[in-house]
Symmetry: C2
Subunit: 351 residues, 2 copies
Amino acid sequence: MQQIIKSDHLITDVEKAIQNIRHDKLFILTDENTHTHCFPLLAGIPLMRDAKEIVIPAGDTNKTIENLTRVWQLLTENGATRHSLLVNLGGGMVTDLGGFAAATFKRGISYINISTTLLGAVDAAVGGKTGINFEGYKNEIGSFYPSEAVIISSDFFHTLSHSDILSGYAEMIKHALIHSTAEWEEVLAYPFNEADYSKLNELVFRSVNIKQDIVEKDPYEKNIRKALNFGHTTAHAFESFAMNSEKPVPHGYAVAWGMIVELWLSYRLCGFPKEKLQRSVRFIQEHYGAFPISCDDYETLYEIARHDKKNIGDTIHFTLLSDIGDVQIDQTTDKELLFEAFDFYRDSVGL
Amino acid sequence: MQQIIKSDHLITDVEKAIQNIRHDKLFILTDENTHTHCFPLLAGIPLMRDAKEIVIPAGDTNKTIENLTRVWQLLTENGATRHSLLVNLGGGMVTDLGGFAAATFKRGISYINISTTLLGAVDAAVGGKTGINFEGYKNEIGSFYPSEAVIISSDFFHTLSHSDILSGYAEMIKHALIHSTAEWEEVLAYPFNEADYSKLNELVFRSVNIKQDIVEKDPYEKNIRKALNFGHTTAHAFESFAMNSEKPVPHGYAVAWGMIVELWLSYRLCGFPKEKLQRSVRFIQEHYGAFPISCDDYETLYEIARHDKKNIGDTIHFTLLSDIGDVQIDQTTDKELLFEAFDFYRDSVGL
């Protein structure tokens, strides 16, 4: 299982993590943003001097087979062996693509994830899921291949925009909803206007541990790991839809909006309490605004959702909740009820 | 661990193997040759009627990212889910590429290998190594992802050419060399001119079991599985060299020639008995002829070998033998001794 390192001294902690893994050559994967803003923070580490940096374009639309091929190529050309080490420095796009490159280069090399976004820290960096987008579908191609270590440092969070913080925060709402009412109360009470980083850090690490505990029980997502998919069947449909329209949305925002749809399905199909539905939906609507869909888009969204990896055959599978912390995996719904849920979503966010 | 099925009734055994794996949709991967010559043998299976066949061009030079992408695309377009099943019907190229497609499609689906060549049966189909060639390097990109089942049927061997039989037989010589003198005596005694399929079958299944036993002990090739790499460091260099010159050679032939080089290194570095070296080399030379290299190619071959996945850093690693059945992993040599081994190879095969 991957080691989760809560870093208080970035340079020392990264250096120690790299030294702990026997390797011959060191490679660093960054995107154009983390190359400029984050890589310099590691420049003081002597090991970095001989490391080869590989820079790819930023953004989820670049999580492609072309950029994956570019990483493979640069590893090959720079003499990477089966015993080389790759450090992914970035958000979920870099850790997903870099993790998949590591999983498949010479049938698998070791890698470390350093999360530079809140979303990356609470979501992509932990749990071993790697992959790229393909043919308009998110993470269609990938593998389960955990990093050796994940380094989470608040040094990167201070410079994140409000929407980057919110994007990560959506996964923390999800972790709270699948975990306990106490955690959910805490998460809903966070004072966004004050930007309390110490409080945020505390919440982040509790959140990462909720995820880690679940992944350890079920690494290949045969049963309880599906809890982490709460909100995600709809979120992935929203994201694919947005990507196809060439107006991509942040993953966390899609998860927040997806949770509105799936909280309503939870209420209708599993008896999720109405008051908790309303408070959760109000919090999301207040902070995340609306993803614009109309009734005319329902069929398209339905078709996209039918392609979700979590399905069995053509039936769409959801993870739902009968209460906070009470997860019901492998729930199905008919088209009509899903369209009602879309109606509820549109009402809730004021469309 | 994958189930090895020695099939005596192809239709019944394939049907049973498919039924044993819960799945929603069935896909069959063939190449242009197995589509024409082997797929019809399975046409009598009712399950095949609803299966979607994916056909790729034949030959190791087609084990490319382009053909992999085509398989991913056809799986996506035909509604494959995480619960779909892929049957690879072909030689090593089909099972390697198809296995890697299965390993990475929606982070991994189940698959079955049906070996249509002797080489595929004794080598590629068993052991979970999947992959494609990349940038002129063999299996540069891939993963460890075993099939659910491997079906080995002599129905396919009867129609193989003499050189296809020989190509597979080289891996059987290797398995004998790493296993026991008794096995080696048996393998060297096989009457090629008589084409005794019953005897061949017996040898094949013993050979597959030698491999399976080793893989079970060390699936990720951390130590003893490296025994299976005997002859292969040199073989891969010969193959890459041949591929770069656009004159590809059969894998098994490259292994046979590679074993001459590495038996000589075993003799020089590990005290492998001279008499067994001479008898093995004579058998190989008699049946496999020569791969044409000259002194001028040594540097190029050396550079290619330095890129072998089995290396640590820039040092070339070999699996050698101090006697038959007595494996020495992680052996290294300097350039000079390797060039001497190339000289010995050229002398032995009459170049």
